[in-house]
Symmetry: C2
Subunit: 358 residues, 2 copies
């Protein structure tokens, strides 16, 4: 098997821990390892390291090299982000011609998965399904009326290729309003779109050719220089001109190839906010529901999340449901329930000319 | 006139801004100057600098010298704190024999006074009163049912020595319960004890001799070496053995000398907590009631006090009535209404072996 780990994202939802130069995938927020390393680790049972393509932005090339370390994963650098279709096309091009029929997992680098064994089993089943020529999405059965995710609607009907739970995809559904989200909980036909799927390099390149001919032309130009000295120059010249569109819109919604969805229960979260992080680490909190760095002291404090990458002592007194993010040059104190608005703070900072701290 | 500025206190109520090595009087919390400097400045209209005696603990000698700078105030060092009676006795001893009948203001170094002109006027009137041989306390007419202060109860009756508002002291009253504090608001006979009074060195030394003979013996020993090379050694040897008692209990409650109280309205506060600081600086807050360091950003944040002695950016999101104290090695986030419990946090820290940060 092969994998494309998409690590080109740059978010500010975990500001001030995350910055433009240090997006979420490079944070140690769920364990002592970065989300990126955790993602890399999860592929270990499925493929050798050299079959893993990591696609990163040039700004994050150095940290990616440092985290990959001596492992053999290949790092592909985007000079600028051009959304997932271009990213996936770039990686697919690098798969040797004679291995392009092997299953290829495509997945983001900044998600959390609680149950790696179950995740690996789901990917194995999806990989088998994909050998029939289908693109197979992993869908997450919703456990709450989430309005922050996109959904995948599936057809009713029998399982596909011997897998009872697999379904044919009907359509992608945009982030719903609360009422609609609530109704999705009970249909059995709506799954969270985790952005994880399995196909193979050949299918992906063919689909790009069919559905996104302009992107395909660009990639074909690039392909000529792969393995050549001219490669870096070619990427620098061509990549920024590529069509910027997501694989969901660019291919999944247009292709006439079969697209299947396999529901997977492996404790998935995209950790979209400090609050989401608190929720998934809640079982590690102290008896008063506080998640604290070592040495912190509290008195009458409950349900707080403190994230620190300084060695400062943190003391809490009489406060509830706060997220406190302590970094060397910026401090955030926020209502945990409003942590999705952290992005707005960074916008205010940019307006104030403080892009340096975003 | 003379003054004794008592700067030997060591509090942790403003932790983590205040520390054992940096008590409240050395903080810049009400302006760009420390409370100690503000206190020194307030004496300027009343006496020349060389008539001011500053009594400090040995641990704070260096910072006191730095803050006094080129001014001629005299710094007297206590090797250990021995409460106010010993402190005042020590300073009184240093007043030249031929000036011991001059009025002498005794006051703490860590209080806030909003109206310096009015304060100076009150001290001038009190100084005149004291020339009759009385000890004159400044009492603060209570403006709220404060349970955190001691009170002075005065006799009813006419003014003393031509000052209509002056009254004879009846007794000191301990910190009252809420109901009692409420009743004090309307008696007209209960004033807050600000710990500020005027007498003169001779009277004070005589009263110490009468009421506290053991302390007087110790001071007499010390007096022999004032101006001698042996002075430092004598202080080191004798001071720690002196009786440790407050001037209120040691003299004011025992003496048969007349004690008078002069009410003074000059916007006094002992700034006993972060909340008290917030209250007295409230008029400087932004439109949402936040008191913030330069460059801070907020969104839906109201009524917060942020004190920072780092240059870090502080961002607040959706939080109310917090005090956030940002120092290089410790961060406090507390409910402003519970800030009187900050002391308990430092006790927890000491139990945890973190005296280094207290």
């Amino acid at each position: 098997m092969f994998a494309i780990i998409m690590a080109g994202g740059s978010g500010t939802r975990f500001w001030p821990a995350s910055r433009e130069h240090l997006p979420k995938q490079f944070l140690r927020i769920t364990s002592g390892r970065t989300l990126f390393e955790e993602t890399l680790d999860r592929m270990r049972p499925l493929m050798p390291d050299q079959n893993i393509y990591v696609v990163v932005n040039r700004a994050h090339e150095e940290i990616t090299h440092r985290l990959v370390g001596r492992r053999q994963a290949r790092i592909l650098v985007e000079p600028v982000g051009r959304n997932t279709a271009a990213c996936i096309g770039l990686a697919a091009l690098h798969v040797p011609e004679n291995q392009r029929d092997e299953p290829m997992v495509v997945l983001p680098s900044d998600h959390f998965i609680a149950d790696t064994d179950q995740f690996v089993r789901s990917l194995s089943v999806a990989a088998d399904l994909s050998r029939t020529g289908a693109i197979v999405l992993l869908g997450i059965p919703p456990t709450r009326p989430e309005t922050g995710y996109g959904y995948i609607e599936v057809e009713t009907g029998p399982g596909y290729a011997g897998v009872d739970t697999s379904r044919r995809m009907k359509q992608f559904v945009e982030k719903p309003d609360p009422e609609t989200a609530l109704s999705y909980l009970s249909t059995g036909r709506h799954l969270w779109n985790a952005g994880i799927f399995i196909s193979n390099a050949r299918t992906l390149l063919i689909e790009i050719e069919r559905c996104m001919p302009a992107l395909h032309d660009g990639l074909r130009e690039l392909a000529k220089s792969i393995g050549q000295e001219s490669y870096a120059a070619a990427v620098a010249e061509i990549y920024s001109g590529l069509e910027s569109i997501s694989i969901d819109y660019g291919i999944m919604e247009k292709t006439c190839a079969p697209i299947y969805v396999l529901p997977g229960n492996f404790g998935w979260s995209d950790i979209g906010s400090w609050q989401a992080l608190y929720d998934l680490r809640r079982d590690q909190a102290d008896t008063r529901g506080n998640l604290l760095p070592e040495g912190a002291v509290t008195l009458h404090a409950e349900g707080n999340l403190v994230f620190s990458d300084t060695r400062r002592l943190v003391a809490l007194l009489g406060v509830q449901r706060l997220v406190i993010v302590d970094t060397p040059d910026a401090l955030l104190v926020a209502d945990l329930n409003r942590s999705q608005d952290v992005k707005k703070l960074t916008e205010i900072l940019k307006e104030k000319g403080r892009r340096d701290i975003c």
